[in-house]
Amino acid sequence: MSATTIPAVAEERTAPAIDAPDRPRSTKLRLRPKVRAGRVLLSVLAVVIAIVWVFPVYWMVNSSLLPNRQLQSFIPTFFPIGGSLDNYGNALADGSFFTALGVSLSITLIVVFFCLLFAFLASVAISRFRFRGRASFVLAVLIVQMLPAEGLFIAQYKMISSAGLLNSIVGVSIIYTAAVVPFTIWMLRGFVAGIPAELEEAAMVDGLSRSQAFMRITFPLLAPGLVASGVFAFLQAWNEFTVALVLLPSEQMHTLPLWLRGFIQASATRETDWGQVMAASTLVAVPVIVFFLIVQGRMTSGLVSGAVKG
């Protein structure tokens, strides 16, 4: 409707467009069935693409529910009718899943705790203070964040092994914390900067000390930021493969990604039990998917924030 009123106004100013008020309406009327048909077609296309894209995830769950007899058939079974949870039982049977879960959980919790602590302190420093070296620190954080694990893991392996920390949770946690802390600082910095310092000042006028004001006013407001950054650190540490591969060679110390890789490695020498592998993959993926959905929006905006806003 607004489309018809705007040209009406414009028409008064520009003389030649005498039939302007009619034209958009009539073309709109003529176009409508065509436009609607196009929209339906596009919607169908969108749903088809959605199905194609989600298919691997669906296939993982579907295969995890099917007995091996059906998976060995040359005609795939597309729906888990008559499926069972037997594959899950088999994947968990030898207990190695729980060993890996324990290793993954220990590493991840350590990394999340220290990342949040270090990043919190650092982000307060760079968003609440102007000081000598601030710009260099921010630059260093941003550059370090870009360094690929592939470009450093051999050196990190050398360092950790000469410190006698191969196959130890401490060694891998140090490397993970260093790798994750830069982006956590960057994420938290945005949250800290979003809380007006005036709030603290008001509290200080009311008689609190600066640290009291910070702990009682700013810190509670920062909770969503801490949760989002914490989940980000969790996902990074939980999913990491490259560094874990070199720092945790002993099977007893395998994290969940390494444990899962073991299934594929074994498939080179013997017939793969795909039902069991897919059950194992599902077990590893589900908690990650849940956590990921919580922070997804924040991660996108953190990575491209400047570009999307400006």
């Binding site: 296939w59 601030r134 870009m146 051999i154 890789r261 990921f292």
Partner: protein, 319 residues
């Protein structure tokens, strides 16, 4: 540094101070707050980086593993890399893989973002949920599923392709030929990366105001012209950043290539930079050469990411 301080002082001087001049009291406070982060970065990143730079200038092989001192050889490692056809093959493959995969990811991601704006709510949500699920999949879990999908005998991909009349894909082994091996790798990486691109570009597209588009329409711009001359310039910054990130991420595909090699072949012609370094270092124990290749990878990444870092710095200056 002095520049920031002076501008800060100027802006804070007249009454309304958004950032109070706290540096008067406790000058050392911010530095103290940075100590833990700086320490962990120095230990976890700084030391390995320096060690690597030094080792890349040394002969550091198995003998040095057993305590023999490592002789300084200058740029010998780099020279032997530069004259090694294997190295050039790996570099070439990595760059082609990175460029092709990033370009395809960008193209599909942008198309899906435009598609999201063109369809109704229900269709858009369906597409978004599906993309989110793909995005959320842990890399290793995604790799096992894809290896199963491309399985020679019972994979769905061969089954579906074989149903096309005239196509015989029965027992086609995707992972035993370098070309199809990297095609599969590229498909998987595109599948994983498109959601991020689509969501970022979609977020950018929703920032383009309806008024501007309406004005362009009234001026007679066709749908294509509006996309080309109004929408594209407005979302160019998002696309630039997403492209840079994609290029950087597609250079670090160690996990994907390693898992595909587990299922296929570990031969040299299936290597990209990541697996090449791994084999040099963890396999052949030639740390001098491995370090030199690593330094090369770091330099390449830094060169690409410089523009990205600069745009983030600009944002930091604004906040």
């Amino acid at each position: 540094m002095t520049a920031t301080i002076t501008t800060d002082a100027v802006t804070t001087a007249p009454g309304r101070a958004s950032k109070p001049p706290r540096r008067r009291r406790g000058r050392s406070v911010p530095h103290l707050l940075l100590i833990p982060a700086v320490l962990i970065l120095l230990v976890g990143m700084g030391y390995p980086l320096v060690w690597q730079a030094v080792t890349s200038l040394q002969e550091f092989g198995i003998a040095q593993q057993f305590g023999k001192p490592a002789p300084f050889v200058g740029i010998d490692n780099y020279v032997s890399l530069a004259t090694d056809p294997d190295m050039w093959a790996v570099v070439g493959r990595s760059l082609v893989f990175c460029l092709v995969t990033a370009a395809v990811t960008l193209a599909i991601g942008i198309l899906l973002a435009v598609l999201m704006t063109a369809v109704g709510r229900a269709a858009r949500l369906t597409l978004q949920i599906s993309l989110l699920l793909a995005w959320a999949m842990p890399v290793v879990a995604a790799m096992t599923v894809w290896i199963w999908l491309f399985d020679r005998r019972r994979g769905v991909v061969n089954y579906l392709l074989d149903m096309i009349p005239g196509v015989d894909m029965n027992r086609f082994s995707w992972l035993s030929n370098p070309l199809t091996f990297f095609l599969v790798a590229s498909i998987i990486v595109v599948w994983m990366s498109v959601p991020f691109v689509a969501f970022s570009v979609y977020a950018g597209l929703t920032q383009v105001s309806d008024e501007v588009l309406e004005a362009a329409q009234l001026d007679g711009a066709s749908g294509w012209q509006r996309l080309r001359f109004v929408i594209m310039p407005m979302i160019r910054p998002v696309i630039a950043i997403v492209l840079l990130l994609q290029l950087i991420w597609d250079l670090r595909v160690f996990t994907q290539i390693t898992m595909l090699q587990d299922a296929g072949s570990k031969a040299g012609e299936f290597d990209l930079l990541g697996t090449y370094i791994y084999k040099l270092g963890a396999g052949a124990q030639d740390f001098g050469m491995a370090s030199a290749v690593s330094i090369f990878v770091l330099a390449l990444t830094l060169a690409i990411s410089w523009f990205y870092v600069r745009s983030l710095l600009k944002e930091d200056a604004q906040s």
